[in-house]
């Protein structure tokens, strides 16, 4: 018997540890790290270890009171982390819980000797092991040592050498020309003849050719592995990608457990994973990804992630095994056998979960929000969020999941008809619509073999999808619900058909509304006793008794696991669903805080949500967690079982808010503002009429159905106008049109104007300030409020804008009027709970643009800056308690908070990185400072901007923005920066006595100096490119410069007000002078 204690960290007792967060949410690094980090903090707290957290993401749960002991809203960069280390002197550091950001930062700190200098120990996996997995060469070398196969490519310089390499690797192979852009000269070769042809061609482009084994069509399989310092290992879950290799696992549908692997396959890959993890020396948790041949037991290791990941968060939620928590404890030196299974609370954490359901993860894309982005999915990640669905058949789980995605789909079938020009091509070159293309193909008579050959998706999944089509066709053979055989109806429900899907298949277009068909089916099936049952997730497939509150609903069962007592003590909180552009971690924070208050006030807290990247779906955050859909049907199912005292719809963003009217009609007790008042705010016409009655101003708008009417209306209000079609063909849903031509182009190409599809046209007020009111009211009276101002002028979506709280540049008069108007609205809508109003202000003229009777995106920001928990107050108000107005006033703050947005344009190939009326940011940070300047600098650095060293490229757009930028240009000049400028900007700056170097546009490629070349040569440290008007043309010069800046990772600013603020900040304040203060110290 051998005993291998790792020599790294035996018997170290930690007193204070530093946890690195992942910063703003971005594509590839999202809410899963709030979940992981929060779990790590819980694990440390349980041990009485003080936690210091660095994370500028103010909307997260981990940066909340009651989580980390000390919180720094600072960038997770070596510079700032070192400063915090210097101040805090922690004895340990956790690198595995903040994604790639934290890991990279940690490796740098190790390499530069900072960790050693301050005597800080890395908890868990040692840095050398991390580097062995991160560095491709080291990684291959490491696995070669134990004869584990990785994906290798061989560089050759002749056809003969290519042949030799291919014979060694085995056909098919991929040939890539080295140093050639855009895949020129690359391709697949099935045999020697093809190889010779292609290699000859490739060698004509490039002196070197890379030959690599082609794994096209191989399966992608993942394992999550945990190892402790005693060398005990477990694998927690096998996960299988629905899409074959070539599609990033973040872009793929993923199932757990694996569905198409035999026991031999699973055991083989499992043992291999453990062998690797032992050899690499992981201490904690890691993820292993395989390519697996569908025709043999051949495999390649794609990668090993020596940290918590999106997959580990998914595996945790899929199995109930808290990977992050356990990894943190292992980091402290515990053995797996010393920890408890936190579901059973009785058995040890050393076990491999067995699950008795199937889990399907689906990605959520928002590509429609971007101009010019490619829709094809592939090896880089573009999705912005994900959902996880649970069922007891694959059909049930995938249909639930497709509804959860929240893009207007009802499941696999029963959706509006998709227009696909070339089904073959769409199957071969998948886009974000892939699964629906399969539905279309199956309906069009494609066989499983046809689809398999085009997609290489394992036939098992396709057979299962075919079952759904078969059921749909069978349902369509009936015209009345009561004619459908009971068995068929039951089968449909077991396959995850919603009442709506059944109604659509049977009643066709007969009911006037979907809701009507829905209730016909619902009533009928209930009369037949076709009801879902509640099952527990217990990690052991019922082998041992377990008291668990982690639940889902299924039609594949006859008995509930939960005994309902009908005590009316439950409060159901509806969560926010998939993270998407416009709704992400901030609503998770709101949901979690509502749950905590509900529980504290003595009620049973019940959560419904299905996003595996969240803290709200952590089963120890509430008394009962339903990991299930937020559809009307499913929420009603749960409410009928729970018989709650009431439901909270106002903390999970728009999804729950939209259910208000229908739930109210079913007699659900909606806590807080009534459904009728919610409707009065949501319905544009009703809200507008109310404002008119109250004498509150709003931008002029009209809902119009013809071009003539639109023109007539614009004659009154003038250009520019904001145009919102109700039906969008392609591209963004909203646009600002500055002239006749743009209006014409937008409405003809992108949208559709008709009686069925009206267009809302609103006057667009330029150079107006945008102001937000976040508030909590009780019985129509405002109890707490926060007014914040946008740095940018109106026209930048409030979710993309940089927001300042408390406001620094508002007239007292403006503030007073905003308060007054808000009070009037709160009273008129009898608001109880959270709400948000957006205002436009120009010369003390105040107009209301929007009012939401729910928590807004900025609730965590204003709550944390003001240190008044708005959600706690709102929840107590909704529970009917008397709310005292907080004593302190937000105006007394002697510091400033800035919320800045994180964009993920670098992941979205082709997208034009401009800001407009539609939101495009994927995340945000919030930083505090002694003044605006410091807060701006911290927050901009937190979202990835860097202070330029030498030179700035400026194209400052319209005359107005040129003038706006003049002062900033002067400051740059004064500080000794070299200013490069395009034609008009150069002339303007020179006229104002600022020396510049004129550069030429991409459309003048022969002229030097050339803007693009300067960017490619890394001569530019910052690009300021202000588009002339608010509609973007993809092929313009500006687009090329903006896109090049993004692709070359050069900081880019496209808004004059924000650019000025940032330039002002870094020219007046040195990064070295930034104060390193905890949240508490403000």
């Amino acid at each position: 018997m051998t005993f291998h204690p790792d020599n790294i960290m035996t018997n170290v007792s930690f007193k204070k540890v530093l946890l690195l967060g992942s910063g703003a949410l971005k594509i590839g690094e999202a809410g899963e790290f709030d979940y992981s980090g929060s779990q790590a903090i819980k694990a440390m707290k349980e041990e009485g270890i003080e936690t210091v957290l660095i994370n500028p993401n103010i909307a997260t749960v981990q940066t909340s009171e009651g989580f980390a002991d000390k919180i720094y809203f600072l960038p997770v960069t070596p510079f700032f982390v070192e400063k915090v280390i210097e101040k805090e002197r922690p004895d340990g550091i956790l690198l595995a819980f903040g994604g790639q950001t934290a890991l990279n930062c940690g490796v740098t700190l190790h390499e530069s000797g900072i960790l050693e200098k301050y005597g800080i120990r890395v908890l868990g996996t040692p840095v050398q092991a991390i580097m062995d997995t991160e560095d491709r060469e080291l990684f291959i070398h490491k696995l070669d040592e134990i004869d584990v196969k990785t994906i290798k490519s061989e560089a050759v310089e002749s056809v003969d050498a290519a042949l030799r390499a291919a014979r060694e690797l085995g056909f098919p192979v991929i040939v890539r020309a080295a140093y050639a852009l855009g895949g020129l000269g690359s391709g697949f070769c099935d045999d020697e003849k093809e190889l010779i042809e292609l290699t000859e061609k490739a060698l004509s482009f490039s002196p070197q050719v890379l030959v690599e084994k082609s794994l096209k069509g191989w399966k992608e399989i993942e394992f999550e592995v945990v190892r402790d310092r005693y060398d005990n290992c477990i694998t927690v879950c096998s996960m299988e990608n629905f899409d074959p290799l070539g599609i990033h696992t973040g872009e793929s549908i993923v199932v757990a457990p694996s569905q198409t692997l035999s026991n031999d396959d699973v055991q083989f890959l499992r043992k291999l994973a453990i062998k690797m993890v032992r050899h690499i020396g992981i201490v904690g948790e890691c993820n292993v990804q395989y390519a697996y041949d569908p025709q043999s037991m051949d495999y390649r290791v794609i990668e090993v992630n020596a940290r918590l990941s999106r997959s580990s968060a998914l595996a945790s939620k899929a199995t109930g095994y808290p990977l992050a928590f356990v990894a943190a404890k292992i980091g402290l030196g515990y053995g797996l056998f010393e920890l408890k299974n936190s579901v059973t609370k009785d058995t040890p954490a050393y076990f491999e979960p067995s699950i008795d359901y199937i889990v399907v993860k689906l990605p959520r894309w928002d590509l429609g929000k971007f101009h010019g982005v490619r829709r094809e999915i592939g090896s880089s990640m573009k999705s912005v969020g994900e959902v996880m669905s649970i069922g007891r058949t694959f059909e049930e789980a995938i249909q639930k999941g497709l509804r959860m995605i929240g893009q207007g789909m009802h499941g696999f079938v029963g959706n509006h008809d998709l227009k696909i020009a070339d089904i073959d091509k769409s199957l071969r070159e998948p886009t974000d619509k892939r699964i629906f293309v399969i539905a279309k193909a199956l309906r069009s008579g494609y066989t499983i073999e046809d689809i398999y050959n085009l997609t290489k998706i394992d036939r098992w999944f396709l057979y299962r999808l075919q079952n759904l089509i078969n059921t749909e066709i069978e349902l369509e053979g009936y015209n009345e619900i009561t004619d459908v055989p009971v068995e068929l109806l039951r089968t449909a429900k077991e396959q995850g058909f919603s009442d709506f899907q059944i109604a659509k298949a049977v009643l066709k277009d007969r009911p006037q509304s979907g809701a009507e068909g829905n209730s016909i089916v619902r009533e009928y099936r209930k009369s037949l006793g076709i009801l879902p049952v509640v099952k527990q997730i217990d990690t052991l497939a019922a082998e041992y008794p377990a008291q668990t509150n982690y639940l889902y609903l299924t039609y594949n069962g006859t008995t509930n696991d939960v005994e309902y007592t009908g005590d009316h003590r439950s409060i159901v909180v509806l969560g926010s669903g998939a993270y998407r552009i416009g709704s992400s971690v901030e609503f998770d924070w709101c949901s979690v805080n509502a749950l905590m208050t509900v529980k504290r006030e003595g009620w049973r807290s019940v959560m419904i949500n299905y996003n595996p990247e969240t803290v709200s779906t952590d089963y120890d955050m509430c008394d009962r967690l339903y990991f299930d859909e937020l559809t009307f049907e499913r929420v009603m199912d749960i409410i009928e079982l729970e018989q709650p005292h009431g439901a909270i719809l106002s903390v999970g963003g728009q999804i729950p808010n939209n259910l208000a009217t229908r739930l109210d009609a079913e007699g659900v007790n909606i806590l807080g503002t009534s459904a009728k008042c919610i409707d009065n705010a949501e319905d544009r016409h009703k809200f507008s009429a109310m404002l008119d009655t109250l004498g509150i101003d709003q931008p002029r708008w009209k809902e119009l159905t013809s071009f003539d009417d639109i023109r007539k209306f614009i004659d009154q209000v003038g250009f520019p106008v904001l145009v919102r079609p109700s039906y969008v063909l392609s591209g963004a849903a909203m646009n600002v049109c500055s002239n006749e031509e743009e209006l014409e182009r937008f409405l003809r190409l992108a949208a559709n104007v008709s009686k069925q599809h009206p267009v809302v046209v609103t006057e667009f007020i330029q150079n107006a300030k945008e102001i937000e009111m976040d508030a909590v009211a009780a019985k129509g009276e405002i109890k707490a409020y926060a007014i914040s101002e946008h740095i940018e002028f109106a026209g930048v979506h409030s979710g993309d804008a940089t927001i300042q709280f408390p406001p620094q540049k508002l007239y007292v008069e403006t503030m007073r009027r905003i308060k007054k108007i808000s009070a009037q609205i709160a009273k008129a809508l009898e608001i109880t709970g959270p709400f948000n109003i957006q205002f436009l202000a120009k010369n003390n003229d105040i107009k209301v643009i929007e009012c939401n009777l729910r928590a807004s995106r900025s609730f965590p920001f204003v709550s944390k800056v003001s240190k008044i928990n708005f959600i706690d107050l709102a929840t107590r108000a909704m529970l009917g308690q008397e709310i005292e107005k907080p004593n302190k006033s937000a105006f007394d703050l002697d510091y400033v908070g800035i919320k800045a947005s994180q964009f993920s344009f670098s992941r979205l190939q082709g997208a034009d990185p401009v800001l407009g009326v539609d939101m495009s940011s994927t995340g945000e940070v919030g930083c505090l400072g002694v003044d605006s300047t410091e807060a701006i600098l911290k927050s901009m650095l937190s979202v990835g901007y860097r202070v330029p060293k030498n030179s700035v490229l400026m194209s400052t757009g319209s005359a107005r923005s040129k003038a706006d930028m003049l002062e900033a240009a002067q400051m740059l000049h004064k500080q000794g920066f070299t200013i490069y400028a395009t034609e008009g900007t150069a002339r303007y700056l020179e006229e104002n006595a600022i020396p510049v170097i004129r550069v030429y546009w991409p459309s003048q490629p022969d002229m030097e100096p050339q803007a693009l070349k300067l960017l490619h040569d890394k001569q530019i440290d910052l690009v300021v490119n202000i588009p002339k008007n608010l509609s973007s043309t993809e092929l313009s010069n500006g687009y090329k410069i903006r896109r090049a800046a993004i692709d070359l990772n050069i900081p880019l600013l496209t808004n004059a007000r924000l650019a000025s603020a940032f330039i002002n900040a870094f020219t007046t304040l040195s990064v070295d002078d930034i104060e390193i203060k905890t949240w508490d110290e403000y």
Partner: protein, 350 residues
């Protein structure tokens, strides 16, 4: 919708579950047990330890990867645990009528029909599992619509060891060292594991007096049912304890070795039926995930002084293996899986 026959599971306490048939259309009866392994139905069905059992899989979807061909090398199945299905029936929530795997040569349903084994899907297997867990394994019968109902059958009233053991001495593999494998219903993977390591395996019937043979080591296999039935084996093991050659018991072999040493066994409230049983080697920090399928355990308090516990179950603290304090005898309740090294240790002893 697929036309299927109605199939009903009736438990001895009167509880019934109604589902649909996907196997052989005949009625049957046996002891209803569940298993929480998520894959491995070909192995489970052919495991002699499942003799007389109606198998309930807690993983809800069954049949995804079909069934591998019945290839035999040296009369030992390459993919199965024996030459036929031993379970009386199989029950799942959902059956996958279509399968997909490169090794499969037929569907699970086809195989079950070939071997005359009934099967049901469409019943709440989680509810059934909880019922079995709380009431202990119980007898049950499956009634397929249109076929004749049969009586309850208690496999434990029979000598299942005798039923599943080989009838004659067989020789497998070739090597300098010889091990005797007492077949109480052995899984083929034990034989594969030994021949792969270059041993000559003399597979003998459960009641065969192997002490007359010359051997370097003795292995006592797994097997179905109540260990008390294998009295003849116990008597032979007692003789082997006198001989002094290394002994290794697996699963039922663990019980039998303990009984030969003088200890007693008892029936567990919650039997171990899964691929994920955590065990710890006593006195170390080494833990293993093991595969188990049994309902009995050794009563450690009855273990003679010169023996000691070697492994324990981390979930319920029950014994998972014993060893002699001075002599080369040990046995484990689990199948060598993550613990291949145990076989290596055994071989090192001989």
């Amino acid at each position: 919708m697929r036309e299927t026959r109605r199939a009903t599971l009736i438990l001895e306490d009167g509880t019934t579950f109604v589902g649909k048939s996907f196997g052989h259309e005949s009625s049957t009866s046996g002891e209803v047990v569940f298993n929480t392994a998520m894959t491995g139905y070909p192995e489970s069905l052919t495991d002699p330890s499942c003799e007389g059992q109606i198998l309930v899989t807690t993983y809800p979807i069954l049949g995804n990867y079909g069934v591998p061909p019945h290839l035999e090398k040296d009369t030992i199945s390459e993919f199965y645990e024996s030459n036929r299905i031993h379970a009386r029936a199989i029950i799942a929530q959902d059956y996958s009528w279509e399968h997909s795997h490169w090794q499969a040569d037929r569907s699970l349903s086809e195989w079950l029909i070939e071997e005359g084994v009934p099967a049901i899907y469409g019943i709440d297997t989680r509810a059934l599992t909880k019922h079995l867990r709380e009431n202990g394994s119980m007898l049950g019968k499956i009634v397929i619509e249109g076929t004749e109902e049969v009586d309850f059958y208690n496999p434990n009233s029979e000598n299942l060891v005798a039923k599943t053991s080989c009838k004659e001495v067989e020789i497998h593999g070739d090597g300098a060292k010889t091990v005797v494998l007492v077949d109480c219903g052995t899984q083929h993977n034990i034989i594969r594991g030994l021949t792969k390591r270059g041993l000559k395996v003399v597979r003998v019937p459960w009641d065969y007096d192997f002490t007359t043979e010359s051997y370097d080591g003795l292995i006592i296999s797994n097997g179905p049912g109540n260990p008390a039935m294998a009295e003849a084996t116990v008597l032979n093991i007692r003789k082997a304890l006198e001989i002094g050659k290394p002994i290794c018991g697996i699963c039922m072999g663990n019980h039998l070795l303990a009984m030969a040493a003088g200890a007693k066994t008892y029936k567990l409230k919650y039997g171990h039926h899964s691929h994920n049983q955590p065990v710890r080697r006593i006195g170390t920090n080494n833990c293993y995930i093991t595969s188990q399928n049994h309902g009995y355990a050794i009563d450690i308090t009855t273990l003679p002084e010169d023996w000691e516990p070697m492994f324990e179950n981390m979930n319920d603290g029950t014994n998972e293996g014993i060893r002699h304090k001075t002599k080369p005898y040990f046995s484990t309740q689990f199948h060598p899986d993550d613990t291949d090294y145990l076989l290596d240790e055994f071989i090192a002893m001989i």
